[in-house]
Symmetry: D2
Subunit: 298 residues, 4 copies
């Protein structure tokens, strides 16, 4: 980032994820203003060079404000809401939303920002705080190309992978596609692990081999371990995954794309719910597969 001039940036939302992302901007050389509803959570960033401010309005001194909040409602509140980023006389040039929100909320904020002369980039991130800290996350952004180019160097201080998906809400679609893959790969892994198991191979050995092979990925490592330990403590439960498949297959229907394997896995997730795993992690697809193979008591 040597050739990036020192720029005053803003960060709104310093939960676990927001904090580690903001820290990356600081390491990347930013002059950073931060705000959080619960101010105490922003304090550690001060130790890393950030300036904690007292109101959202104070963030508008920055040219670019990044937002990382929990829900669609939160995003609307801190942007279009009373005392939001777009409510006062002074505004940032660009708002970059890194939260995972609905395409509808995203489009609503984008429109309000445009009306206020503010650029908007939807830039959800894939990964958890540990992965961001380890430089293993990825960001997919959508919005006007020039807005993307404007902030891409800063996003690059957070994630080694930053891609531009399109001019409006494409990044939301990409995130859903990503989650369809999570479900499909989990079912695929469940099928072959049970096959190997019934053929006499210890699941641990099988999963270790897959992880060491060309197929190895952070995801397979995590999901494989959950299967081996039959630990279905939810990181993301079957109802949540079903929701993403509802969205993904809805998009596929609108765009007229047949998705045979996605549709099949959607039904298998529903089957897992019917078998009592609604609130369990979707690694429980492994358990449903095991029952179907006659491996567990039904």
């Amino acid at each position: 980032m040597n050739d990036t001039p020192v720029e005053r940036l803003g960060w709104l939302g310093t939960g676990a994820m927001g904090s580690v992302m903001a820290a990356a901007l600081l390491k990347g050389g930013a002059d950073l203003l931060v705000w959080n509803r619960t101010a105490a959570k922003a304090a550690p960033l001060a130790g890393q060079g950030a300036t904690v401010v007292g109101s959202i309005a104070d963030l508008t001194e920055a040219s670019v404000v990044f937002v990382m909040v929990s829900t669609s409602a939160d995003l609307l509140a801190v942007t279009t809401g009373e005392n939001g980023l777009l409510s006062g006389p002074r505004r940032p040039e660009v708002i970059v939303d890194c939260s995972t929100v609905s395409a509808e909320a995203s489009a609503e904020v984008r429109e309000a920002a445009a009306a206020a002369g503010v650029g908007f980039l939807a830039a959800p991130i894939s990964g958890n705080p540990h992965m961001v800290a380890d430089g293993k996350s990825a960001i997919v952004a959508s919005g006007p190309r020039e807005t993307f180019d404007r902030v891409a160097p800063w996003l690059g201080t957070i994630s080694p992978t930053v891609v531009h998906a399109g001019p409006d809400e494409q990044s939301r679609l990409v995130k859903i596609c990503h989650n369809l893959l999570l479900g499909m790969i989990t079912q695929a892994l469940a099928e072959v692990t049970i096959l190997a198991e019934k053929g006499g191979v210890a699941p641990e050995a099988f999963v270790d081999f897959i992880n060491g092979s060309v197929l190895g990925s952070t995801f397979i490592r995590h999901k494989g371990r959950a299967m081996v330990e039959r630990d279905y403590t939810p990181t993301f439960n079957n109802k949540m995954l079903r929701k993403d498949f509802d969205l993904g297959l809805g998009a596929a229907r609108s765009l007229e794309v047949p998705m045979p394997v996605s549709a099949m896995v959607h039904q298998l997730v529903q089957t897992a719910i019917g078998h009592g795993f609604a609130e369990r992690d979707y690694a429980a697809l492994y358990e449903v597969e095991a029952k179907a193979a006659g491996l567990r008591d039904n």
Copy 2:
């Protein structure tokens, strides 16, 4: 490998893959005898410290002989055949077969070895020569536990991942399971990439994001690039993949394991063949998906 005593080993088969694996054993400290049908191909290993011998019989001076040949017939010829490893009065303690051969051929050699008082380990490797050289391959072995323990340190000089799958032909089943995963993940990737594409996302951007995410793997990087470039130059063609699905679903039928997604992908590979992609790389599942989505001329 500091505490592994210098042991005389043998290597049979120095094609592209065998050569790089033998080189790893040399780097690991082995005193290595090598033999190849075409002697010229064994010569470079001499420069790395190996002793090139003139006959298979000469390899039996070694305690452990590794075999890396192309086909089931080759494996039978160099072991149970006339002048094979098991044909003379002197024999190695253990034969380790790293080739990818049928479970039937493997069982036949295992039986003949046992009758001759020789241990046998089926130890296929996942990866290509470049990946082995970069320390990114994986080995799955099956055979008696003590035989595995006997040679595991040497296998560890070749691959960072070495697992024991079971007492007899389980490593062959694991390799097939691995290949079922290759097919399923490719179809899954084809579906979501086309969905994203029809939704306005450039395939390159989409695949880059997936590779940067938790799902990123060597395999997805390679297959994703083939899709983006619509380059179906075969690394493994649809007929070969269909063969592995035939074997995998045959094993699943014998073991009574329902495999809904595997069965579906088997039919989609057949569909790709029906659409003229028999001899093309199975990344062409992407092309069939595109046609089904109305994206290409039919």
Copy 3:
């Protein structure tokens, strides 16, 4: 119908289907008032003993009025609309809607009828006019049990099969389930007919055998003939069938019922659309199957 007292009934809508149904009521002994927007179409029924009336209001002299119109909008117009059955001071006791309309429109009319003290029965019919004339149709009705019992004898003069599906809009769900079956059986028939064909069996001979077997049905006879003749003149096109699958899988999702084969056929209908058969009869699933089997030029 010997013990059914002569009752004054009303019939609204005398298109091809309505006419043959009204004629069945007349044959069953009804004293029938009929009305149609285009009066000329009602005239033939006068020759069979009906009394043609000049306004919808005249129909309210009848105790039970049957409605057979084309669309949800038509149903709303002739019931809740200005000059509709529910608009004046005199009303029938029961309205029986035999049209195929949306569950939403049905519920709206049901509610308006209830508010006006009028019973409502949703009673869609399966079959075409020829089949109704031949006594081969079926009616599925939903509404309060006593309303059903009140009119079931009259419905029995139209169709040999009259069933009560539930207290409100269940008959609409049943009709959608029926249509899911149409799609699934067509795909199933396409798969086996192509298999037989590639095995050397003439499609005509194959379909004739199936029709003569325990599986034979009016539907398979019609769809089988379309496949044999490769005649995809639409009776119901792929977009219409996709619509019903949208509704059926939507209902399945709401009710949390996994439908693996239905979901698969939904995707195959989408594939047929992607291959250019959107406006063709869904018997064209046979054509897509043939292409996938390499039997037609791609």
Copy 4:
């Protein structure tokens, strides 16, 4: 059959099915010789005009001999075996095998018959004895066209539907295709019946409507009743159906025909077996579907 000259025919095998078929030939005007291993079972046919003979050799006085036995081994025994139809100096012109045997056994007998100058027709029948008696069965035959034409009038006295499928073993393939349809339609019916049931429709009412509709068939009537009564007393159990799917998908693989729905149902039958229904009627697919929908205790 007025213009068919009285011809001497032979019948071998008078179990429940053979007896009713032989009776149809007698009614059709045949001069019939009958033989059965247990002679007592042939006696009732004598009362209907048949001549019971004492040995298989006696049947060779007939020009055409029909065979209806239980297994492939039985067929081989009574034809190519010692004292079989092909063993003596006198032979019939044509042997018509109506049994359900393997394509291999069929081909073996066909070859032996050809070597002996005897025509052979493989002519399995669909239906049970009651259906044959009621004139509701169907016969699919394969063998040389002229052999078929030679005996078709007689087959027509047994079944209203008699089709010629091809010159050799095609009738066996057709029978398997028929059985694939049985499985697919049963799964389809299970899905929609559970959907209707969860939507508040009594399964009886639903199945009655389907039976009265264009989809109604003898098969759906029987299978629908089994589902409604949750009576899985086997007529054909899941292991038998899986066997036919093994054969059907094996044929599809050899002929290179993708069968997505067939493949899916194959896996669902395997799932039913995994859930404990191996020896139950395949109507139990309904039970597995119900469990997946959360309708039964798991």
